[in-house]
């Protein structure tokens, strides 16, 4: 393995090259990003469709949004990959074990945003947390915050809808995770876990402390881009296509009536509609952008988005391995109520 180590240092490991490469990449990114609007205008002007027609509007939306969303996502995921190299699930668990509720819920929700884990790890993670003595409510705060306030959703909201919406979303997502976890903890439902989960006793493992170099961390960012953008790009293009269709063809009055802020039932309807849908933030946010442009109310649209992300049916099927049906029902009830609250509140605030 180390045959060349003595004679010639491996260039792929040189910190200067990695840091320089990153700076260059970010610089090129901004240059390219600034060309998107002129480019899309140029492209649309040269298309054989009438610019003012329905089709023209749709095509314009698609041509502008596709590179924009993909570029923003790449940058955000890269940054998040680097940040996440500082947190591991095992370390998070050690931080949370034995924490009192209350503060524990707040810490869990915060860590949920940054701790990386793939969806196939959700069950081992859950079992690992509970068996290591992390209170059930605190574990739930973590499990709710992790998908809800993910880097993709936050980055896209910031890019497409501005920092106010992104920040409010972050605040409400965290609050929801904290309160819902706290409520579940108060209900003392440990008995509603599947029996084998209660019986697992975890041994605290001390992994050899890996000292990650700056190159390792930057590489973690690149890996995150390869993995996440590699997986969601199709969803994004599908989402933008749906958004483009809405943008070009759906009449304003229709959406303003169905999803507008004057129809109180639109928020619960949006939540119910969102649960069986399985998408991820990447596919849903371009649709959100188009809906908002058509006069849909922000609270209604965000409630829909949160329901899609946090209450997805496949996620429940996975959780069924560790939770009894009763506990899943409580989980859906508490989180669903929270999302309704967020929806109504947003509609009232952004009038």
């Amino acid at each position: 393995m180390n045959t060349f180590a003595g004679s010639r240092p491996d260039l792929r490991e040189a910190p200067a090259l990695w840091i320089g490469g990153t700076v260059l990449f970010v610089f090129a990114w901004f240059l390219l990003y600034r060309q998107l609007v002129p480019f899309s205008e140029w492209a649309v002007a040269h298309l054989p469709v009438d610019a003012g027609s329905h089709l023209g509007e749709s095509v314009k939306f698609f041509i502008y949004d596709t590179p924009k969303v993909l570029m923003l996502l790449t940058l955000v995921v890269f940054g998040m990959g680097v940040v996440r190299s500082f947190f591991s699930p095992e370390r998070t668990r050690a931080l949370l074990a034995g924490r009192a509720e209350g503060f524990g819920n707040v810490a869990a929700a915060g860590l949920g945003v940054f701790t990386p884990f793939c969806s196939c790890s959700a069950v081992p993670l859950f079992v690992g947390f509970v068996s290591a003595g992390v209170p059930l409510g605190v574990t739930f705060s973590f499990l709710i915050a992790a998908p809800m306030v993910n880097e993709v959703a936050l980055g896209l909201l910031f890019a497409l809808l501005g920092w106010k919406v992104a920040l409010t979303y972050l605040a409400f997502g965290l609050t929801l995770a904290i309160v819902a976890g706290w409520v579940i903890g108060r209900l003392h439902l440990e008995g509603w876990l599947e029996e084998w989960v209660r019986n697992v006793r975890a041994t605290a493992v001390s992994l050899p402390q890996e000292r990650l170099s700056i190159v390792d961390r930057l590489r973690a960012g690149v890996d995150a881009v390869k993995e996440i953008v590699g997986k969601v790009w199709l969803w994004i293009i599908a989402g933008i296509a749906a958004g483009a269709f809405i943008h070009g063809y759906v009449p304003n009055e229709l959406l303003a009536t169905i999803m507008g802020k004057d129809s109180w039932w639109s928020v619960p309807a949006a939540v119910l509609l969102g649960i069986p849908m399985y998408s991820n933030a990447a596919g849903i946010i371009p649709v959100v952008e188009a809906l908002l442009g058509k006069g849909a109310a922000l609270g209604t649209v965000l409630a829909f988005m949160m329901a899609v992300i946090a209450l997805s049916f496949p996620e429940m099927v996975i959780l069924r391995k560790v939770l009894t049906t009763k506990l899943i029902a409580v989980f859906i009830g508490v989180v669903g109520t929270g999302i309704l609250g967020v929806g109504f509140l947003f509609n009232a605030l952004f009038h």
Binding site: S88, E90, P116, V123, A204
Partner: protein, 78 residues
């Protein structure tokens, strides 16, 4: 003979990790007995919260994400 356990419920990365262990062991000419642990209770029993995890001769050496091939070689050779 090294006893290696690959912890993971069976996602793509867990399979890739198992493959990596076999490939590296063959490269180094080390005899290994690879066992896959898919039972959640057993995985949690090792204290691993993020999969795939690797256990060499009873000691957890890795948890979470694909390991680097050179690290796998290092653990096997140790």
């Amino acid at each position: 003979m090294k006893e290696v356990k690959v912890l993971g419920p069976g996602c793509a990365r867990c399979k890739a990790t198992e493959e990596m262990v076999r490939v590296q062991a063959a490269k180094l000419g080390i005899q290994v007995k690879v066992e896959k642990v898919t039972d959640y209770a057993a995985i949690a029993g090792f204290g691993v919260a993020s999969t795939p995890g690797i256990v060499v001769d009873g000691t957890v050496v890795h948890a979470g994400g694909l390991p680097k091939p050179e690290d796998v070689a290092k653990w096997l050779a140790a």
